[in-house]
């Protein structure tokens, strides 16, 4: 009983202790790294209710009933939490915290040399994906919008991105890291072609005009890296009816998966019947496209994407036969194209690791009838790519990857057939080292091998960026960029070298949410450019490589200004590019300004939103100084390519009207290209004897477009 009595009194004592309060007073101040007081920070004793918020002067104070060793944590949005161990014994404790800001777009430098990024996910980007489709003159084509950015050339007689003195073959397009071998509809002489892909497929567009990372190879001038959309928020369908055709599709959304099919058909015959064309069309272009998209989330951060696109197109037209003195006979050109592009990609982020893997198969067949010639080009491409990256501190990271491309192609020239295969492999390793938040260095190395060329290369890339203030920064970049010569030259001629460009770039940019100013100076040196036989006089003739000792340079300065702030509802940008370039390549026997290069290019893009009219009206104005053109009568060192076309001026207008048909969100869009009807020659085509010529101008004086786009599955837009 003594024992139990003892126990009872002890238990009573426990109850008293439990109820009694041994309070400790805790106080202190919270500051940032610069000793400025920080208000609103949460100070808490871990696993207890006890704590307080810091006031406007950064001070806090509270009492706690806890005793012994505890951990006290101080946290605030935008700062890294800080914790300290203290012992609570009833004596007042003073404890101060110094919080460090977490990295964000305003306090951390990023690599920007050469890059134009369009993204919805970041705030400080130069473009939004929507900007691409709403730019007048672009006609909803990604490349059309990119041609309003500095560093690019507005070439109107052929498709492609001509960047900083580089030709279209020097620019590569990638979708989720996979090269798109034929991003445009098959080339037709003097008729520029559109891109094969809708801009709505992509959530991110990264367009680089130079100095890009070791992740990208086989592009001497430019890389356009497109990132496809993830799962749509819900099932969605759309229909488009246009002056040139129509189409539609539906994508179904399940919890973790989405799948959809899209198809469209374009035929320009009705449009050509109304709007007079400057080309002698035999059979106007028609295109059938169909695609299927599948996406599946394998986890919170993992996603599998599959995409397959099939396209068929055909057309035929006649060209003036300049060899015929009577001018009565014609040269005929007909084209059938079949194109398949497919990708399968996987991405997963696990703690510090990011893994990306992708595979692709594509096939392209061009059948060309240019009487009496019959040509058939067939090209199959298998690609595989894997990239692994790991973050090594808050900001610094390292990544490595490998690429394999197997290209199997066959060319048929009338009865003469050539088959060949190219095997290309590449590996790269690259690191981003943040010395401080204001200073970052990216260094990378890329090694490539081409089976057909029987050569390897090693390309170093370096970029250093320094943040000057909240919104502005400086960036310098250097790199070697190699490219395998066009495979059609490699079949008949033994070439020994990769074509090579070396970039030096100095970039300054100021970007806030509403305004952007960017200026970039560059110098580019070209080596081992392929040289070919003489300028072909026939539109379909094939040139042969004669050597690879072509060379050249490009230097210039690009300005970009964008302002969404000054005028209400108005968003405008202005680009100016100065380009000084000369090269000895293809049929040029001397180093001269190439036919695709304009010395001065200005573009002004303006969009205004009219809320009452529910309309967006925009215009794009482009000026380009005259370009050189080939004249067979001028072939010596002093006068080769010395002729210049007239300056190019173009004003395009676009109008988009937002409404709803029933409950379905609808956009009605109309556009006019070359409103002022200014006629200019882009180049001239000569007869072999150089006595007769014909100007290559726009395919029509003005072009018009009207379309109605309806979305299903969403009842309203904000």
């Amino acid at each position: 009983m003594y024992l139990s009595k003892h126990v009872i009194s002890w238990l009573f004592f426990l109850i008293i202790i439990q109820s009694a309060t041994a309070q400790t007073k805790i106080s202190g101040t919270v500051t940032d790294q610069k000793n400025n007081p920080v208000a609103g920070a949460n100070i808490v004793i871990r696993d207890s209710y006890d704590g307080a918020s810091s006031d406007a002067s950064g001070k806090f104070q509270f009492t706690s009933d806890e005793t012994g060793d505890v951990i006290i944590v101080c946290s605030l949005i935008g700062f890294s939490p800080s914790d300290k161990k203290i012992k609570l014994q009833g004596d007042a404790i003073e404890i101060n915290f110094k919080l460090k800001e977490t990295s964000n777009e305003l306090n951390t430098v990023t690599i920007t040399a050469g890059a134009f990024e369009a993204s919805d996910e970041k705030k400080m980007v130069i473009l939004r994906p929507l900007d691409i489709v709403t730019t007048a003159g672009s006609q909803g084509d990604i490349y059309g919008a990119l041609q309003t950015l500095p560093g690019t050339q507005p070439t109107q007689d052929q498709e492609g991105l001509f960047v900083r003195g580089g030709d279209a073959a020097e620019a590569k397009t990638l979708i989720d890291g996979i090269e798109v071998a034929n991003p445009y509809f098959s080339s037709v002489p003097d008729v520029p072609q559109r891109s094969r892909f809708s801009p709505f497929m992509f959530k991110g567009t990264n367009f680089s005009t130079g100095g890009y990372s070791a992740q990208y190879g086989q592009a001497m001038s430019s890389v356009l890296a497109l990132e496809s959309e993830d799962l749509p928020p819900r099932s969605i369908g759309n229909i488009g009816i246009m002056s040139v055709g129509g189409g539609g599709g539906y994508m179904h959304r399940w919890k973790k998966t989405s799948a959809g099919v899209f198809a469209n058909y374009f035929n320009l015959a009705p449009y050509f019947a109304i709007i007079k064309q400057n080309r002698d069309w035999d059979s106007p272009p028609q295109t059938f496209s169909s695609s299927a998209i599948f996406r599946h989330k394998t986890s919170e951060t993992g996603i599998i994407k599959a995409f397959i696109n099939y396209q068929y197109s055909d057309l035929s037209l006649n060209f003036e036969n300049l060899e015929d003195v009577t001018g009565k006979s014609k040269n005929h050109f007909g084209l059938n194209n079949y194109n398949i592009f497919s990708t399968l990609s996987y991405k997963e982020v696990l703690n510090k690791w990011t893994v990306q893997a992708a595979g692709s198969y594509s096939k392209d067949i061009n059948r060309i009838y240019a009487r009496p010639q019959h040509l058939l080009f067939s090209n199959q491409l298998w690609q595989g790519r894997a990239v692994v990256s790991r973050s090594i501190s808050e900001l610094s990271s390292i990544r490595g990857g490998a690429e394999v491309k197997y290209n199997d192609f066959s060319n048929l020239y009338n009865n003469f057939r050539v088959d060949s295969t190219e095997m290309f492999t590449a590996v790269f390793l690259e690191g981003d080292a943040y010395i401080t938040r204001k200073l970052v260095a990216r260094a990378g190395i890329r090694v490539e091998n081409s089976y057909l060329l029987r050569a390897s290369n090693l390309a170093p890339r370096i970029s250093v960026a320094y943040k000057l203030g909240k919104f502005d920064q400086l960036n310098v970049a250097y790199g070697d960029y190699y490219q395998t010569p066009d495979k059609n030259y490699l079949i008949f001629t033994n070439l020994d070298h990769f074509e090579k460009a070396t970039h030096y770039i100095l970039n300054y940019q100021y970007v806030n949410e509403k305004r952007t100013f960017r200026v970039e100076a560059y110098y580019k040196k070209y080596n081992h450019l392929v040289q070919t036989t003489n300028m072909a006089s026939n539109v379909y003739a094939t040139a042969f490589a004669t050597g690879d000792d072509g060379k050249g340079f490009a230097q210039g300065i690009d300005f970009f200004w964008r302002d969404k702030q000054t005028f209400k509802y108005v968003d405008y940008w202005v680009s100016y590019s100065f380009l000084d370039t000369k090269r000895k390549y293809l049929y040029y026997p001397f180093e001269v300004q190439p036919t695709f290069a304009s010395k001065h290019v200005v573009s002004v893009v303006m969009k205004r939103w009219f809320p009452k009219l529910r309309s967006s009206i925009g215009f794009t104005y482009v000026y380009a100084a005259g370009r050189p053109y080939y004249n067979p009568n001028k072939t010596n060192e002093n006068n080769f390519l010395s002729d210049r076309t007239n300056d190019y001026n173009n004003l395009s207008l676009t109008w988009s009207y937002l409404t709803s048909i029933g409950r379905h969100f609808t956009v009605i869009s109309a556009a006019v290209n070359n409103v002022l009807g200014i006629e200019s020659a882009y180049s001239y085509r000569y007869s072999t004897d150089g006595l007769r010529r014909s100007a290559v101008g726009a395919t029509s004086k003005r072009s018009f477009f009207i379309g109605v786009f309806i979305s299903f599955g969403e009842d309203r837009t904000e």
Partner: protein
């Protein structure tokens, strides 16, 4: 021995009652403070207080719910879009945490929808289409989970009120929904003093706006 057992039970019961009532008492006190909060700092302090409770009570969804709710209210006062976006991201992260503890909870889904539609306001041109769809789906889901919850109706009505007529919004469309919200508010009885019970005054204001 009986006495000892009794005492042991007493202590255990006392401790249990104390901890449980401490949670409830603190929550009710903080909810009351939050209801009276006016300026941005009051909301931040309230969010911090709920964060502290959530820290200790790792199995309860309510402290997280209120932390997120208080953050959203504090974001309303924030002028700097970059900061506002960061606060809303944090609010969404906390709401998602609450959702893990209490899945298919109409109140949490409503909060997720509200945060999503507030994120649109930072850059409507860019975010409108995608997030608008997401917010609309979340509101519909919240109603589906509990048709008697007045708050998703209130969000839906407010959303319609601020959507131009041409895009399927406007006063005429918002009015019946907001009237329904008020009706549901009048019938709504929270299960206990800690349960969400906000929005009636806002809803009334929006309804008055509709009738103007």
């Amino acid at each position: 021995m009986k006495k000892i057992t009794f005492l042991l039970l007493l202590i255990a019961g006392n401790m249990f009652a104390q901890s449980n009532s401490k949670f409830e008492k603190t929550m009710v006190k903080q909810i009351d403070l939050l209801d009276k909060a006016k300026a941005g700092t009051d909301f931040v302090n309230a969010a911090n207080a709920f964060e502290r409770i959530a820290n200790a009570e790792t199995k309860e969804w309510l402290p997280l719910y209120y932390q997120s709710y208080a953050l959203v209210l504090s974001a309303n006062d924030e002028k700097d879009n970059v900061k506002k976006d960061a606060v809303l991201d944090k609010a969404l992260e906390i709401a998602n945490k609450a959702d893990k503890l209490s899945p298919d909870n109409s109140e949490i889904v409503t909060l997720q929808s509200w945060i999503t539609s507030m994120k649109i306001g930072i850059d409507p041109a860019t975010r409108g289409q995608k997030l608008g769809m997401e917010a609309g789906m979340l509101t519909a889901h919240a109603i589906e989970l509990n048709p008697e919850n007045p708050r998703p109706y209130f969000l839906q009505g407010t959303g319609l009120l601020f959507t131009p007529e041409q895009f399927g919004g406007g006063k005429a469309k918002a009015l019946p929904i907001l009237e329904k919200a008020i009706e549901k508010f009048n019938a709504f009885k929270p299960a206990n003093a800690m349960m969400p019970n906000w929005g009636k005054e806002f809803a009334q204001k929006m309804l008055d706006e509709c009738k103007k």
